[in-house]
Symmetry: C2
Subunit: 212 residues, 2 copies
């Protein structure tokens, strides 16, 4: 199970993607992605240059420039590579349980050491391409979480009307992102469950019902 | 009424503070704060230097260095100055109404042009002092919002048990921050009210009750 935070969605050795040339190309990509993450954590965005990534990865700089062009291209590809993984949301048997487990993953991603997720979020404030890639990443993750809401509806945990799954999922996870990524407050071990319970209660009361 | 987003909390001409020397010192501070905001919006964090701020403000650079030391000191003082204003949360007569009005202010701050609030948030990922000042700023704002929850309790909108006002306020505002500051999705005019209704429903159902 992988979190909707960017971090652990980018394993050091990603599984072989399906529709992309494997072999050397895939190995080069994995080496370069690993170097981007290491460089970002070690030196921050200011130390993230194509040359530094090339040196750290052992891949020839001409290759890196040709394939990724610049820092924005590197960050976007690292984030986009997360879409290749097999992540699926937790299935605990209840809406509150699923949302709690999801929030635990988000919190773990945002507080992990080295802080790759936070470094990627920070980079998204500097590079429009990274910001766009991060948006795509979160879109993909929230889309994959739709079954959490569908299962809750099937179990009768939601009112009869259709539920706006995205609004429910954002409401459930936003307090965790807000506390850790923006307020930069210390981790609160109770927050994943509290935020999940809040969203589940609101959902049960019809807060995310789609009109019509 | 001023938003809990940093932006409009820092007017170009702040009212005279109570316990700080007025006159020249206050004028210099206002000039320098204005220059920090303008420079941040015009050139981003990378263009924010003590020398650039001094040049833009017309204040002698020796004065700026002596009083603010570095970029972190400048950003922290700009954010801390927001604590001097007379901001109070909206009072609309209902919890959902107050939270909606609060969220409208947050959304307005995060989407205003020039994007001062977003520039300050971006800077907080680069400067530990700015991050700490932003945390203090939000702490102050959430603290000032406690009457929203107290009034709701007095009106009987909350269950009998004591309510964790900070948790309720974070839950109400977090989706707006999440969408605009992290997901960087287009503004959704319905979100302030939706997020407010969600939090109010959850609060009424006891989601933020303090045990004991």
């Amino acid at each position: 199970m992988e979190p909707p935070a960017p971090s652990t969605d980018m394993p050091q050795d990603p599984p072989a993607p399906r529709r992309r040339p494997g072999g050397r190309t895939a190995r080069v990509r994995a080496l370069v992605h690993g170097a981007v993450r290491e460089q970002l954590v070690a030196e921050g965005y200011d130390g993230l240059t194509v040359d530094a990534v090339a040196a750290r990865s052992g891949v020839h700089r001409t290759t890196v420039y040709r394939r990724w062009r610049d820092v924005g291209g590197l960050l976007a590809d690292v984030l986009d590579s997360a879409a290749d993984d097999g992540w699926a949301p937790p299935d605990t048997g209840s809406l509150e349980g699923d949302l709690t487990a999801l929030n635990e993953e988000v919190a773990a991603g945002l507080t992990e050491d080295p802080p790759i997720a936070m470094a990627l979020i920070a980079a998204s404030f500097r590079s429009p391409e990274a910001a766009e890639a991060l948006r795509r990443f979160w879109d993909d993750r929230y889309r994959r979480c739709a079954p959490v809401v569908e299962r809750a509806a099937a179990r009768g945990e939601l009112p009869g009307a259709a539920t706006d799954d995205r609004a429910l999922l954002v409401a459930a996870t936003a307090p965790v992102y807000h506390r850790l990524a923006l307020l930069r407050a210390p981790a609160d071990p109770a927050l994943p469950a509290t935020a999940a319970r809040t969203a589940a209660l609101a959902a049960g009361a019809g807060a995310f019902a789609v009109p019509g």
